[in-house]
């Protein structure tokens, strides 16, 4: 299960300061913020802009450009990334995803009706000989079935 700290501007400033000496510090900072808080709070944008001497628009552009960065916390207890790319399609991932989303009662980027998971599409996890594939809280799952995903969601909860 993913655990995150509540948003704190003070804590964020500390994280930004830790990374601001890096060449091209924006992405490392955004990743570190998301790892800590589970998302990139809009309050972080002026702090990053100040620290790196760039405009707020440039930082906002960065947050919105990349699929990984969330602008609000994920509602689900777990993060499920389902691979939608061709190698998984060849193993029937389209039909599988319809079944999974149906069981969870949500759509892409949505959260299961029971709050168990937030589901994101992803294009290739490099598990292409063993599809369909998924990442559950960062842990790979190969030969995915709807039942296996349910089991994985139960297991990582422990």
């Amino acid at each position: 299960m993913l655990r995150h700290e509540p948003w704190s501007a003070e804590r964020a400033s500390g994280i930004i300061a830790e990374h601001s000496h890096l060449e091209g510090a924006t992405l490392p900072i955004l990743h570190a913020l998301q790892e800590t808080f589970g998302y990139v709070d809009s309050g972080a944008i002026p702090l990053i802009a100040d620290a790196l001497n760039v405009s707020r628009a440039e930082v906002f552009g960065c947050v919105s450009f990349y699929h990984d960065f969330r602008k609000e916390p994920a509602a689900g207890r777990h993060e499920v990334k389902l691979c939608r790319a061709e190698a998984c399609q060849a193993m029937g991932s389209d039909a599988l995803h319809r079944e999974i989303l149906g069981r969870l009662g949500c759509d892409w980027h949505g959260t299961a009706a029971d709050g168990s998971a937030t589901v994101e599409p992803v294009y290739c996890l490099g598990l292409c000989s063993n599809g369909p594939a998924a990442l559950v809280d960062g842990e790979p799952v190969a030969h995915l079935t709807a039942d296996a995903l349910e089991a994985a969601l139960t297991e990582v909860r422990q």
Binding site: T26, L52, G61, A90, Y123, C128
Partner: protein
């Protein structure tokens, strides 16, 4: 006596339960009073056999696989720690035909060694390439790379030696070596396997490049979808610094190379080298117009050598064994070996490193053993989401940059995705546009708008709305995207679309033949 067991920690093996197997093996051995130590390796790339457990015996390694949690007790009772008989016993892993028939120049250590141990790497021939390079001057190293015929393995196939030479000759205070590890193509996993299984091979290759070009700093730009590779690379780099193979005095040569791994954030376009550099600089991953080329103005405006993981990892072998030995493999202008990744609906999927020139059919039938579903092969996509779909009659095409191009396809990063006869090629064509629409950086109009119009028009074709006229429109759109896009994203999206339309026309007329869908 302590027995050494090897259990992969490659993402595929983990996805099939390798961690649980490793824990159960350790606990089970302890209960039986057996003294075992478990080394977590990468994978040898025989993915249908994962998790593949190996044991060191006096006669060499013995493999068992695929091992599930339920097999562990029976395996230990059958004498796994001494190489005992069991239904899952595979014998010497290097004699498994899938592996024995390969020409592993780049991947020979992968799955064999402890990936984060410098000692293990050196014990298996590691750093001989860098040692050889340090005896040459910069020009001498670049000459070796040029004469080996090595071409960029990321997909474009640009001669590596020319790129290295350009960066070497560029004058600047600070130069950079950047590894493109944004392996986003579906059906490819060679970079991931290498970074998880033999990261020092990449580190050594980049260090040789740094010595040759005069760069003192390097970055590995890794996609965020590979959390295991990220952890392994960070650990390997830290161990490399401690061991003195990275840092201010590489192998006591007085040369400096500082290496860092950076995470992408889920943008396919960042596999394009200029967009990757933008991202590395902390900006949106928007494609840059060329010129200037990155070799002259790359990261932070400085001369930057950008190569793919597979390009860098070919280099240590070349420096150790000589350019000619490498160029003896391959055909035509495609020299050396290609790490082929066999994926999708395939019985025996995995990593197959072979000299260029092997045909698609040989790979799919002799190595892959046909589809996993058992149904006939209908379409094969080669080279990722921007690669062509080939029908059966083109499967005798050899994997060679020029031969593939002659059939309107591409080698790309060497990924082969197999589809059985249940595939709907109109849906695959639609997906190619959808993927481009999702992942386009938005800088140029043909790609940004074209992809969205492509999805809409394909939807009409699939619904049977004026299929002939709409297919004509798709064709026209593809021409504009090919000719007018800034980079390969928009420029090559037409390749899967047009190959599907050309080779599988019947799939685009299905709805059109229904009376309900009359014009």
């Amino acid at each position: 006596m302590t027995v050494t067991l090897y259990v992969p920690r490659d993402a595929v093996a983990l996805g099939l339960g390798a961690n649980k197997v490793a824990r159960a093996l350790f606990a089970g051995a302890e209960r039986r009073g057996l003294d075992v130590t478990i080394v977590r390796t990468g994978s040898r790339g025989l993915f249908w056999l994962e998790p593949m457990v190996e044991v060191a015996t006096p006669e060499g390694r013995v493999a068992y696989g695929p091992v599930t949690l339920n097999d562990v007790d029976a395996l230990l009772d059958a004498g796994l720690t001494t190489g005992g008989e069991h239904a899952l016993r595979l014998g010497n892993p290097e004699e498994i035909p899938f592996l024995a028939k390969q020409q592993r120049l780049t991947f020979h250590r992968c799955g064999v060694i402890d990936p984060v141990s410098v000692e293990d790497y050196r014990a298996h021939g590691g750093y001989r390439g860098l040692e050889a390079a340090l005896k040459l001057d910069a020009e001498g190293i670049v000459t070796q790379v040029r004469e080996s015929g090595l071409r960029g393995r990321g997909g474009a196939g640009f001669p590596a030696g020319i790129k290295w030479n350009t960066v070497m000759l560029a004058k600047a205070e600070q130069k950079y070596v950047v590894c493109n590890a944004d392996e986003g193509d579906s059906g490819t996993f060679a970079d991931r396997m290498m970074m998880e299984g033999d990261p020092f091979n990449l580190i050594e290759g980049m260090t040789i490049a740094a010595v040759a070009t005069g760069a003192t700093r390097g970055y590995i730009y890794l996609r965020s979808e590979y959390p295991q590779a990220f952890a392994t690379l960070k650990e390997a780099i830290a161990n490399g610094v401690t061991a003195g193979v990275l840092g201010d005095d590489i192998l006591g040569s007085g040369k400096t190379f500082h290496l860092e791994v950076r995470l992408g954030a889920g943008a396919y376009i960042c596999g394009e080298e200029t967009s990757l550099l933008e991202s590395l600089e902390g900006k949106r991953g928007i494609v840059r117009a060329k010129p200037p080329i990155p070799a002259l103005k790359g990261f932070l405006g400085q001369p930057t050598l950008v190569n793919n993981v597979m390009t860098f990892t070919a280099v240590p072998w070349i420096l150790e064994n000589g350019a000619k030995a490498y160029a003896d493999y391959g055909m035509g202008r495609s020299l050396g070996t290609l790490p082929i990744q066999l994926a999708g609906n395939i019985k025996h999927g995995g990593l197959i490193e072979l000299a260029f020139g092997v045909t698609l059919r040989e790979v799919i039938e002799e190595y892959g053993g046909g589809t996993r579903s058992g149904r006939p092969v209908r379409a094969v996509q080669v080279g990722g989401p921007l690669g062509a779909y080939f029908p059966d009659h083109l499967l005798d095409t050899p994997l060679d940059y020029e031969a593939m191009a002659a059939k309107k396809g591409l080698v790309g990063h060497g990924g082969i995705v197999v589809f059985d006869d249940t595939v709907d090629m109109a849906q695959q064509a639609r997906f190619a546009f959808e993927f481009c629409a999702t992942e386009s950086c938005g800088k140029c109009t043909p790609c940004r708008i074209g992809a969205t119009r492509g999805v809409e028009t394909m939807d009409k074709v699939i619904a049977g709305i004026r299929p002939d006229a709409n297919l004509k429109l798709v064709e026209d759109l593809c021409e504009v995207m090919t000719d007018g896009s800034l980079c390969a994203m928009g420029g090559l999206t037409p390749m899967p679309v047009m190959s599907a339309i050309t080779h599988f026309p019947e799939d685009f007329r299905r709805a059109g033949s229904l009376p309900a869908a009359a014009e």
